[in-house]
């Protein structure tokens, strides 16, 4: 089968969505299909976001089936359009009130939200099958657009390389340094930890100067390491050597970090409003779920640092909860009879 995977491109940005698309291509090819990735640039500002969506309406897509992924690629037209929704334009939906959304409650913003929600609903209704990456994304679809979808979980990148290792003296957080990922929760948490446990945050992004300032002002010294970009080998090693993983984004769609941590047999500390992460992390079973405050995250880290046995038990349970994830059933569902 000739499959076109469609996704939006934010030039000069690379994150979970890009990895997801590439891994889907690999899985499709591994299942014997011809697969190509089709990407168009998207702009997030209100003035241009609709044009990005309209551009997809005109793209000729000659394949047996198209699998569309993130906003606005699902505006593509094809008789066999399967939607596997990563996320919509969240600034117009659940994150409209977030400081980074750029969305106000003025006439223009409200009309943009109204129109985009109407457009989204119409083009998503065109799909021959509607899947989401997680129950969190499916819940947003029914709440905001009145559409029901089936969550379809998949393995994270590096799934076959992540292994457990000896627990070290640090908690690890690989993440983009962006507002919705809230790396400042972990940075701030370190000020509330007295056991000498360290934090390593790997990733790049606009919040780095803020985190550096926060570490200076809190006198964290060497207890907060901003490792910047790390390659795959180092990433695997950092997971393996950590005591636990702290991942506390705001209302995450899916969250590879959670699954990668579990595959490395590490418990995950997350927050009560972290969205898709909560579909995997169960408090006291394979991680700790706390209020989204630096104090609460700090207390959770302290608890694990003081009881490494607990961290190991939670991490092992985490591993068991994700080790059955495979790409083969995902490909079968996406291209199967229901689609």
């Amino acid at each position: 089968m000739r499959v076109l995977v469609c996704g939006a491109q934010v030039p000069f940005t690379r994150g979970g969505a890009e990895l997801h698309m590439e891994n889907l291509l690999t899985a499709l090819r591994g299942a014997g299909h011809e697969a190509e990735l089709v990407r168009l640039p998207v702009a997030w500002d209100a003035e241009r976001v609709l044009e990005s969506a309209l551009a997809w309406r005109s793209v000729p897509l000659d394949g047996d089936v198209v699998v569309t992924t993130n906003f606005p690629s699902y505006f593509a037209r094809h008789p066999r359009k399967v939607v596997w929704l990563f996320h919509q334009h969240r600034a117009a939906y659940d994150a409209a009130d977030a400081p980074w959304s750029g969305m106000g409650d003025d006439d223009a913003s409200l009309e943009l939200q109204r129109l985009l929600a109407d457009w989204d609903t119409r083009v998503l209704e065109e799909a021959t099958a509607l899947f989401t990456t997680s129950a969190t994304v499916a819940d947003r679809l029914v709440r905001y657009n009145g559409l029901e979808a089936t969550p379809l979980a998949h393995p994270p990148p590096l799934a076959d390389r992540l292994v457990g290792g000896t627990s070290g003296d640090y908690v690890f957080c690989p993440t983009r340094l962006a507002a919705n990922k809230r790396p400042e929760l972990l940075a701030g948490a370190m000020a509330h930890c007295g056991t000498g446990v360290r934090a390593v945050i790997a990733g790049t992004g606009p919040l780095r100067p803020d985190l550096e300032r926060l570490a200076r002002e809190a006198g964290l010294g060497g207890r907060l390491e901003l490792a910047g970009f790390v390659g795959d080998d180092e990433l695997v090693a950092l997971y393996a050597g950590s005591l636990a993983v702290v991942y506390a984004p705001f209302d995450e769609d899916y969250g590879y970090v959670t699954l990668q941590a579990f595959l490395a047999s590490k418990p995950v500390v997350t927050c009560t409003d972290s969205g898709g992460v909560l579909e995997w992390v169960r408090h006291g079973e394979n991680g700790l779920v706390v209020e989204p405050t630096a104090e609460a995250v700090g207390a959770a880290v302290e608890r694990l640092a003081a009881d490494p046995g607990l961290a190991r038990r939670l991490g092992s349970a985490g591993r068991r909860s994700v080790e059955d994830l495979r790409w083969e059933p995902v490909v079968q569902r996406l291209l199967g009879p229901a689609s």
Binding site: L50, E51, L54, R57, S58, Y93, A96, D105, A108, L110, E111, Q113, R114, L115, A117, D118, W119, T121, R122, V123, E125, D139, V142, R143, Y144, N145, G146, L147, E148
Partner: protein
Amino acid sequence: MTTVTARGATATTPGAYPPARLGLLTALGPPPAWAALVEALAVWCEPVAARPGEPGVVAWLASSPQARHLPAARRLGLPVAVMETGDAGTAVVVSPDRDHTRPAQRVPVPVPGIRASQAWPVAPFVRARWRRRLGLPAGWTVAVADLDADLLDTALALAAAVVVPGELLLGALSWGQACVTTAEGARAVGAADGVEAVVAASGEPAELAAELAGDERRAACLGRRGRRLVERHHDLDLAAARLARLLGLAPPVAGPAAAARRHLDELRTPAGSPVRARVAAALVAPTPEPTGGPR
């Protein structure tokens, strides 16, 4: 209170086509049942009351008894549309086209019908933001029958849920509203209980509306399905567009600008939406620089 209204807006593009004159031939003006259809046709043409043989008319729309007065039009090859109501339902029969090459075409006219383009579907979470902006209660519900007519559209755009009598149900559904209505009202438009609307068979309507207002997911599903019910089975704009094409009133659509317009129409983008102007500006061909002729 801010008045939210979509009156006057259409999903198509008024002014994008040169107006053609559609002759209306009826004994006493259009029968009331047809008035909304003629109004919808005005997006595509200029309907004018006219006598047979009137110059400048390019097509005719006639009531069934009056159609016999149009043999001259038929001889001239002008398309004639005849409004009929019978056992097969209400429809306009167009015959024949200018070239007499196609058989008569029947365009069903929905009864009851409404112009879907006159309301903009508003998702519950957007309504909630509007209410917050205007200082209205978060779970504001409205009994439509108690409203002044000039507040109707505003209430239908903003309320979290409404109690609506049968005769106003289509209008409420076209705004994407979560509606509580009567069994008769739901039956008249083909709305199923719990699918496109909630029928107040046993419960107190106001309490049912309050329940809906507190359940954003259910309200979103009802609102979406209700709007689709209107678009698929009760939309006079759709019938008018098809009629306009058959009568030769809508020019053929070609070229990238027209394709973009079609995409915007398919997405039911309001006529005055700024995105239409931006797309039109983006698709204007640049004026060629003068070269001074071949060298």
